[in-house]
């Protein structure tokens, strides 16, 4: 409230603000390079201005009362914009709920206006409001709020005000408002046929998918379910249909006013007996498929019965160590006796299964070592050279500058034959072509900040020579590369795109294509190419599969075509490699690399030591529809690079050293907990760059040995031997 004695001064100040071209009714919005720079004060016509007092005049400064929290007093001596901030108790957008559609933009100051309010709820005038937004769902730039992906964001608003103490520099007061980014409108809704019959007493979940007009799926849209006859069947908010009485009923799914109907016939439940069959004995980690046959009173088999499973353990001292999935796949983490129960339309059957230890433990024997103690070691590549000898090339990190050349023909005694020194501080990746005639090493941290790649001629693999230094557009540094015939795919730190290079003439590398996603904040890390499909690790955007010559999707090496994509909540997708095991199961193994998380505990004080992340295992049978089926997660460490061969996965698991995992057969659940881990080797050493600190970087199985590079200790050569049980005396 304004006291009468202040009214004259108020008028004076209002005139002053107006004389300065001031706005008087609306707060202003600051965004980066707004289309029209916001004036310091409002320009709304006087007739439209609300009758709200402008900034209160303040008496001259009185040091004796400087500590008072009274805003009017505290505002003395500050600029007008700051003084006004003393009266602001809230800042919020109009409209209160900021909703923007994917692909659309809202003009700040027009579509969305940010307004400051005093404690009476009246707008406060002429104050500068700063705004920022840090989100992957929306971006705020050039004066527009643009929707990028469905999700939530937070609009942060800030004003300057005198400090509560009344002295010192102004404070920033911050406010926030949610922003909701919605997808394009739903155009169609589809209820998937569950492929079962509905019997009285059964509970079956229906799934609805909503699509936009352009055919993209709206994954986060809210779906409302309803039953055409609650007497015959009910349906809950999750789509579970509970069949009550025989008859025909229509279930409706509704999303944003668009409906889909699913008609079903409820039958009298004929199931009288349920027989469950499957293996009665298995090892931990084995996926056992249980099948169910339901029969009626006459003994006739009943088809299409909705069935689900559960499992219980007979163990008394531990929790159940097994899972059984909806498709009847059972897998145990612990040995023991388990009861698998099948529920078929309300009738049950059961089977017992005894699980024993997997028994794949091996000993990891150190065959040889190539200690690198003067600089950190990065990636490696093992190959047979043109001279008939075996080699491993290793990169170096953080001031490394070199690629080291190891002759490992005798794996017990790796011999450093040479090194290639380049203008770089990080030689992160080393790749050799399948013929063993060319190598490419990556450069980061060049003296002139123009990085690129180095092509090496391996005519003498013990002493490779530089065939070409290619920079092109790769100035920002290259983190990883991969050969595919005459094509080299390079991961560029600047554009975060895949740069496609023709390397058929090693002395004259040419960029022939480029591929990248359009995502704000995209970050690209690695690529792996097998049989015409490229697997691109795009950090928080997940893994992308590209046709780069497979041809089924129309891709060619220089013009990739996107085949499939999968992102998971953990993000930080770092590495992806496909593998088909001896039983014909086809998987994509995807590693994430997580630092800076709450559980990332460092042992030696360096925050980088606290790595986390695991190997996600995706079913790759249909590359267009990837789904995560299993994982390998060492709880206390973070996954890095991996190699898979002969049904064994070798993972350089940073501070957890080298891990070797049995990936034979079907994979479900957490392989780490299932006893599939065959061996592990801590790759720390007292004489390393960081003593006794394993930081395993990359593994490769080559001619019966596992070659592992470690950031802190260099090159290790490891062999697996079956663990010999030592009799207890």
């Amino acid at each position: 409230m304004t006291r009468p004695a202040e009214s004259v001064a108020l008028v004076v100040l209002a005139l002053l603000v107006a004389a300065c071209g001031g706005r008087t009714s609306r707060a202003t919005v600051s965004t980066a390079a707004a289309p029209t720079p916001p004036p310091a004060t409002d320009t709304t016509p006087a007739a439209e201005q609300p009758q709200t007092p402008v900034a209160e005049p303040t008496p001259p400064a009185d040091p004796a009362s400087a500590a008072t929290p009274d805003p009017a007093l505290a505002a003395r001596g500050y600029s007008a914009g700051v003084r006004i901030g003393a009266r602001v108790v809230d800042v919020r957008p109009e409209p209160a709920e900021v909703v923007v559609q994917v692909g659309d933009s809202l003009a700040m100051g027009e579509d969305v206006e940010i307004v400051a309010y005093d404690d009476a709820g009246d707008p406060v005038l002429g104050i500068r409001i700063l705004t920022t937004l840090d989100s992957r769902a929306a971006v705020l730039e050039e004066g527009f709020l643009r929707g990028v992906a469905e999700g939530e964001a937070e609009l942060r608003m800030a004003i300057r005000a005198p400090p509560a103490s009344g002295t010192g520099p102004p404070e920033i007061h911050t406010f926030s408002a949610p922003v909701r980014v919605v997808g394009l409108p739903v155009a169609t809704v589809d209820i998937q046929d569950p492929g079962v019959r509905f019997f009285t007493g059964s509970i079956v979940q229906l799934h609805a998918r909503a699509f936009t007009a352009d055919g993209s799926e709206r994954r986060s849209v809210e779906v409302e379910w309803s039953s055409g006859s609650g007497r015959l069947a009910t349906v809950d908010s999750r789509g579970f249909v509970h069949a009550l009485f025989p008859g025909e009923v229509t279930i409706t799914a509704r999303a944003e006013g668009i409906e889909a109907a699913f008609s079903l016939e409820i039958e009298e439940n004929p199931v009288a007996t349920v027989a469950v069959s499957g293996a009665s004995r298995a090892r931990t980690g084995d996926v056992v498929r249980f099948s169910v046959v339901s029969r009626d009173e006459s003994g006739a088999e009943v088809g299409g019965v909705p069935t689900d499973f559960s499992v219980t353990s007979f163990a008394e001292r531990t929790n159940s160590g097994a899972s059984v999935y909806r498709d009847g796949a059972f897998v145990a983490e612990r040995p023991g006796l388990y009861r698998v129960v099948a529920n078929a339309a309300g009738r049950t059957g059961q089977a017992l299964i005894e699980v024993v230890e997997r028994g794949v433990e091996h000993d990891a024997i150190v065959v040889g070592r190539g200690l690198v103690a003067d600089r950190p070691t990065s990636d490696l590549w093992a190959f047979s050279g043109a001279d008939g000898r075996d080699y491993v090339y290793t990169g170096t990190h953080l001031g490394g500058q070199r690629m080291l050349v190891w002759d490992v023909t005798d794996p017990a005694t790796p011999v450093l034959t040479d090194f290639v020194e380049v203008d770089a501080r990080v030689v992160n990746d080393v790749k050799v072509n399948p013929e063993g005639t060319l190598a490419v090493i990556t450069r980061e941290g060049a003296r002139d900040r123009r990085n690129g790649i180095i092509v090496l001629d391996l005519a003498d693999p013990a002493h490779p020579v530089i065939a070409d230094t290619y920079i092109g557009d790769l100035t920002g540094g290259v983190h990883n590369v991969f050969f595919a015939g005459d094509i080299l795919y390079a991961i560029h730190n600047g554009t975060f795109d895949v740069h496609i290079l023709n390397i058929s003439d090693p002395g004259r590398v040419v960029e022939v294509g480029r591929w990248g996603i359009d995502s704000p904040g995209k970050y690209l890390h690695d690529i792996w190419v097998v049989d015409g499909l490229a697997y691109v690790s795009y950090w928080n955007d997940g893994v992308y599969i590209l046709d780069v010559g497979d041809g089924r999707w129309g891709g060619v090496p220089a013009v990739p075509v996107e085949v499939g994509h999968y992102a998971y909540p953990e993000g930080n997708t770092h590495f992806a490699v496909p593998y088909t095991n001896a039983d014909g199961h086809r998987y994509l193994f995807v590693g994430d690399e997580i630092f800076d998380c709450e559980d990332c505990v460092s042992r030696n004080g360096h925050p980088g030591d606290g790595s986390r992340g695991f190997v996600h295992i995706l079913d790759l049978e249909d590359p267009e529809n990837l789904r995560e089926v299993a994982r390998y997660e060492v709880p206390e460490a973070g996954a890095h690079n991996l190699w898979i061969e002969d049904d064994r996965m070798y993972v350089a698991y940073y501070q957890a050293g080298l891990r070797v995992v049995d990936v034979s057969g079907e994979l479900r659940g957490d392989l780490y907990r299932q006893g599939r881990e065959m061996a592990w080797l801590p790759t720390g050493t007292p004489d390393g760059v960081v003593p006794n600190s394993p930081m395993a970087w990359g593994p490769q199985f080559f001619k019966g040995n596992i070659f592992v590079s470690d950031l802190n200790s260099g090159l290790w050569v490891v062999r697996l031997e079956p663990r010999r049980k030592v009799p207890v005396s």
Binding site: S79, A158, I172, G445, G608, L711
Partner: protein, 377 residues
């Protein structure tokens, strides 16, 4: 202890300095390719010593890139920009002395140099976006008590160099790839002036010039300034002029920010990169990145007083002691050869001490001098 007391170079040190009377000058230097910040002490007569190496960054498998270092005006905190990120970089804030982490906030692409308002409340970091697409970038404004980015000001292509004028009312940054000096009004946090530094075309940009600013070098002909740094004048020239390093044109421009015109030019050696003006405004010091040297100019006469070779190539950052006696210069070096910190006596214009730091020593700022009135600067 690697790197500590790596080597000490004491050429031309005054022999008569006594430890009891000698002041101790302390600085922070960022080593971009080691993800370490070095705290270094210089004692005249004794030389340099690395007191501490503070790890920064979070990813051992990727170089996080500690680029810029700035100490708060009250000397209680220091800040380092982490340039590389995934993909956006960060600003980290530390207690000076204990060197413990206070807070972090995410900025834009390749945050580099910082400027801090005299009251320490606002830190403005340029998002250099060195290797990204050539699109206009911005300056992040961070409220330091809470370490929150409160706004971004869109400026130009590849902003670099970030300094706040003595009065705290104006911020200046240079645009390497659009040949501009940009002034930001720190009351409104809006661009208040754009000055074209293209050789032969110097002048305040007219309306509509923003498009031209975003056009990049290709639109501007062969002669370019490619400004890498802006340094406000001090002393009598405080809040009147700024100095801009034209990296490609081998000169430093003195720009009168009241009249918005080039008032003087200083010819330099190859690739002037970072600048420093002594606190009284007497001397202008420029690192010559392409010449492995430092040039010192008398701002009264405009003459170059000397050109001093530095200990390692890729001479990067420079800061002067508050008493104006010494200049501290970081040298990146190259490859696996560590960077160095050099000390130049501004009276004798001689290199008086040098010490090896870690890889790619770049960002540098002065922390304290003791004993001195108030303990620290």
């Amino acid at each position: 202890m690697r790197g500590l007391l790596a080597f000490v170079f004491l050429a031309a040190l005054p022999a008569q300095t006594a430890r009891a009377q000698a002041p101790e000058y302390r600085l922070y230097v960022a080593n971009e390719s080691s993800d370490l910040v070095s705290r270094v002490v210089f004692t005249p007569g004794e030389g340099l010593e690395v007191e501490k190496e503070i790890p920064v960054g979070i990813m051992p498998g990727d170089n996080d890139g500690a680029h810029g270092v700035s100490v708060s005006p009250d000397g209680r905190h220091w800040y380092v920009t982490i340039a590389h990120g995934t993909p956006r970089g960060y600003l980290w804030k530390f207690h000076a002395g204990p060197d413990t982490l206070v807070g972090r906030t995410r900025l834009g692409l390749f945050p580099a140099t910082m400027g801090i308002t005299p009251d320490g409340q606002f830190l403005l970091a340029v998002n250099f976006n060195l290797h990204g697409d050539m699109v206009p970038s911005d300056v992040s404004v961070v409220y330091t008590p809470e370490m929150i980015e409160v706004t971004r000001v869109r400026t130009c292509l590849m902003p670099h160099g970030s300094r706040v004028g003595a009065a705290g009312s104006r911020h200046y940054s240079a645009c390497m790839h659009s040949d501009r000096l940009v002034e930001i009004d720190l009351e409104t946090f809006e661009v208040s002036a754009r000055f074209d530094v293209t050789p032969g075309m110097e002048g305040l940009e007219r309306a509509g010039g923003e498009d031209r600013a975003g056009a990049g070098h290709g639109a501007m002909g062969d002669r370019v300034c490619s400004p890498t740094w802006v340094e406000p004048g001090a002393g009598a020239r405080a809040d009147r002029v700024v100095y801009v390093a034209c990296n490609r044109n081998r000169e430093i421009l003195e720009i009168d920010t009241e009249r918005w015109e080039v008032s003087r030019r200083f010819a330099t050696g190859m690739a002037p990169y970072n600048l420093e003006v002594t606190s009284g405004g007497e001397l202008l010091i420029a690192t010559l990145k392409g010449e492995q040297a430092v040039a010192v100019f008398d701002l009264e006469s405009g003459e170059e007083l000397g050109r001093i070779a530095t200990s390692r190539p890729v001479t990067h950052g420079v800061v002067a002691s508050p008493d104006g006696r010494y200049a501290f210069v970081s040298n990146e070096s190259a490859g696996s050869v560590p960077g160095t910190l050099d000390v130049i006596d501004l009276e004798t214009l001689a290199l008086v001490a040098s010490i090896e730091l870690q890889h790619q020593s770049g960002g540098i700022d002065f922390w304290s001098v003791t004993p001195a009135a108030g303990g620290t600067r």
